[in-house]
């Protein structure tokens, strides 16, 4: 049996090697994803370009502008003379926020009254807008406390108050790349194995060579194993590539056990290979196989919490996310890499991955065999 599998593997490797461009793409895709996600993905918003309309022109209004600038959230990039000018700058997107300090602001503060300012926020990008919204108020609040303190002769340091000492665990600098690396390892495993398995089987069917394989003494399980094993090897190579670049280039710490991660990844491959085989039994052309693979990949990416946190989704989608195997693999990968936890904490996820693997792979092999007969 094993020698027959080796022949199928050999044949598949020849196919892969004959197409060096696709091979190169297989190895380059993870690097490219890493670089893009590592450098482009920043959800932390600071230095928002801000336009200021200061109608008051007092030392108090300048003080407030300075406080906003010092907060690091806002960069005063423009000064406008009229509301129309401010609107135009925000319409064009040159500024994302606008601070309007009306006439009389300094006067109100001197008389110990509450003074009003307007803060215009471009809401089109909600992530930026929400940060700006909260920061606009926090800065003003801090300034108010300082002014109140001055009134009774106390400075910020001597005022009573609650000071918060945040301790951010697992990822102290809240770097996005630390979050992306575990996710990418899981995603690459699913993407490569599902797409390539389905494409390679469908290609044989499209070109009619699958009949030739069937008249040989190779049995269906051997055929499947032989065809998918080279892609499993590539997937693991990519996984190692991601981890190595992650650790040495981006300085992501791996806190848990790498062998454990590899073992659970192998278990997860049962699911993704199963999906690939299942797709190959449905699709008739390579194009269809590609569409179907993307069809399974897209919801996985979005619902598993790869890009956006599951906690922020509507409840119905959170419920659906429980039937997405990638969700569990993401938890496992980030648990092992970032938190350094082991099976004692991750066993429910591992159990889910095992169940998915057995069910999906089993169903796929059965369908595949039935189709050959």
């Amino acid at each position: 049996m094993s020698s027959r599998i080796i022949y199928v593997i050999y044949k598949e490797v020849i196919h892969i090697v004959r197409d060096p461009r696709t091979l190169a793409v297989m190895f380059l895709i993870p690097i490219m994803q890493l670089m893009l996600l590592g450098y482009a993905m920043t959800t932390d918003v600071d230095h928002i370009p801000t336009v200021v309309l200061d109608q008051d022109l007092t030392s108090q209004s300048r003080d407030l502008i300075k406080a906003y600038q010092a907060s690091n959230y806002f960069d005063v990039s423009h000064y406008a003379a009229t509301e129309e000018e401010l609107r135009r700058l925000i319409d064009k997107g040159s500024a994302r926020t606008g601070l309007i300090i009306p006439y009389g602001y300094g006067h109100d503060l001197e008389k110990h009254q509450s003074a009003q300012v307007s803060f215009v926020i471009d809401g089109s990008d909600p992530t930026v807008a929400r940060t700006a919204f909260a920061a606009a108020q926090t800065v003003a609040q801090a300034k108010s406390i300082q002014l109140a303190g001055e009134k009774i002769g106390l400075t910020l340091e001597t005022l009573p108050g609650v000071s918060v000492h945040p301790r951010v665990w697992y990822n102290p600098n809240m770097k996005s790349i630390n979050f992306m690396i575990p996710g990418l390892t899981a995603l690459i495993l699913q993407f490569l194995t599902t797409l390539f398995t389905s494409l390679s089987i469908v290609r044989e069917r499209e070109q009619g060579t699958i009949e030739q394989l069937m008249v040989t003494p190779i049995r269906p399980p051997e055929l499947i194993l032989g065809k998918v094993l080279p892609y499993v090897a590539i997937a693991f190579f990519d996984l190692a590539e991601i981890l190595i670049i992650g650790v040495f280039w981006f300085g992501v710490p791996i806190r848990g056990s790498v062998p454990l991660l590899l073992a659970i990844s192998t278990l997860f491959l049962l699911t993704t290979l199963g999906l690939g085989i299942l797709i190959s039994t449905i699709a008739r052309t390579q194009q269809e196989a590609m569409y179907l693979s993307f069809f399974t990949l897209l919801p996985s990416m979005f619902l598993a919490g790869f890009l956006f946190p599951v906690e922020a989704m509507p409840t119905a989608l959170q419920v659906i996310s429980y039937v997405i195997p990638l969700r569990y693999m993401l938890t496992v990968a980030s648990g092992i890499i970032l938190k350094g936890v082991g099976l004692r904490i991750l066993w429910p996820e591992v159990l889910a991955i095992a169940i998915f693997g057995v069910v999906i792979f089993g169903a796929a092999v059965r369908r595949f065999r039935k189709q050959l007969e």
Partner: protein
């Protein structure tokens, strides 16, 4: 000339219709993307599961916990009695934040001192952590104001307060769908049509039928136009599909002119068709075409401002983004739909897109002709 183009278009339509599954996927794909992006693409996290370790057990500490609970950001689900227990809950992911109020907190506050608390945040998802981080400090700041009022009788907000009136323009509820759906429209115009064009020509190459077309009296320009026309139609159909679902289902307000949007959409399609054509001159097989497009799609998605704001990226990536047509298209589509902007504001973006489309089409057509 027109007759020959139409003949090619007819041939391509027959190809498309013969494969009803791919056809239905072409129409279904945008709907699925729309629903996924419309509902999942949000980093707005509220009601974070929170564990509290109250070592102080005073009136003041309970007051602080209440303030955190009332803030909507934190859901106090666990009361723990040791740091080890708190650590386990966060390790397991059952709690994302932990408040530790040390013994002496209440005494410090009544004694006019500053009192400290520790706030543990699970940093593994940075966007969640950043929200929790700032919310933790905002709540404490508000609590400090309450304390100042109680101790000194100064109502900070009334007597010395700066009252900020935020006005959120364009998207007052800060709904993610309002941001993602216009982006998706740009994405569909750019990616889908590129993929279709590249695949349809690569298929002819793989099957060797392109030689048959070359021996006909067709000129290469007629071949190109005839082949891409049906895909232009599909892409425009998809654009309208996404617009309709966006408006009727997600309630996206379209502030600007739909006609302008469609006109600029056609301009964007020209640039995508150019990229697709260029890819088809490079790829020999469908599989290669798929990977080439996928390879392009990644920087398009991440460097255009589709997911993440350009301002936050390193300088080098910002410079690269100028080479990505989707960047301009995103500003145009979001500008028209959300801001109601017209040509007087968008002309720079339109010009950039126009330049890009003509350059890429010219390059693709000359390479394509040489290949034939």
């Amino acid at each position: 000339m027109l007759r020959r183009i139409l003949a090619i278009t007819r041939k391509e339509i027959i190809h498309i219709i013969r494969d009803p599954r791919s056809l239905s996927i072409m129409f279904m794909m945008p709907v699925i993307q729309l629903i996924l992006l419309g509902y999942t693409a949000t980093t707005d996290v509220e009601h974070l599961s929170t564990a509290v370790l109250e070592q102080d057990q005073s009136l003041q500490s309970r007051e602080l916990v209440d303030a955190y609970r009332a803030s909507n950001y934190f859901d106090v689900r666990f009361y723990v009695s040791s740091e080890g227990e708190l650590g386990r809950l966060i390790d397991a992911g059952e709690a994302k934040a932990g408040i530790i109020i040390p013994a002496g907190y209440g005494r410090d506050l009544t004694g006019d001192h500053e009192a400290s608390i520790a706030f543990v945040i699970d940093g593994s998802i940075p966007s969640v952590a950043a929200t929790a981080f700032s919310a933790a400090q905002t709540v404490a700041q508000a609590q400090s104001m309450v304390l100042i009022e109680r101790l000194y009788g100064i109502d900070v907000e009334q007597q010395a307060g700066i009252d900020v009136r935020p006005r959120v323009w364009y998207n007052p509820d800060m709904k993610s769908a309002n941001f993602m759906i216009p982006g998706l429209i740009a994405m569909i115009l750019q990616i889908q049509s590129t993929l279709f064009t590249a695949l349809s020509i690569a298929r002819e190459k793989e099957e060797g039928t392109i030689e048959q077309l070359i021996v006909t009296p067709l000129r290469s320009i007629e071949l190109i136009v005839g082949k891409v026309m049906p895909y232009v139609a599909v892409s425009l159909f998809n654009l309208v599909e996404v617009l309709i679902i966006g408006v009727l289902w997600f309630g996206i307000p379209i502030q600007g002119s739909v006609l302008l949007l469609l006109a600029l959409g056609v301009l964007a399609l020209l640039s995508s068709l150019g990229i697709g054509l260029l890819a088809s001159t490079i790829a020999h097989t469908q599989q290669e075409a798929i990977f080439l497009i996928f390879f392009l799609m990644l920087p398009f998605m991440f460097l255009s401002g589709f997911f993440f704001p350009l301002e936050a990226m390193p300088r080098v990536l910002q410079l690269i983004s100028y080479l990505i047509p989707l960047r301009y298209l995103l500003v145009i589509v979001r500008g028209i739909i959300l801001k109601g902007a017209g040509l007087s504001i968008l002309w720079e973006q339109v010009l950039a897109l126009l330049l890009f489309a003509s350059a890429i089409l010219a390059l693709a057509a000359s390479r394509f002709r040489k290949r034939l």
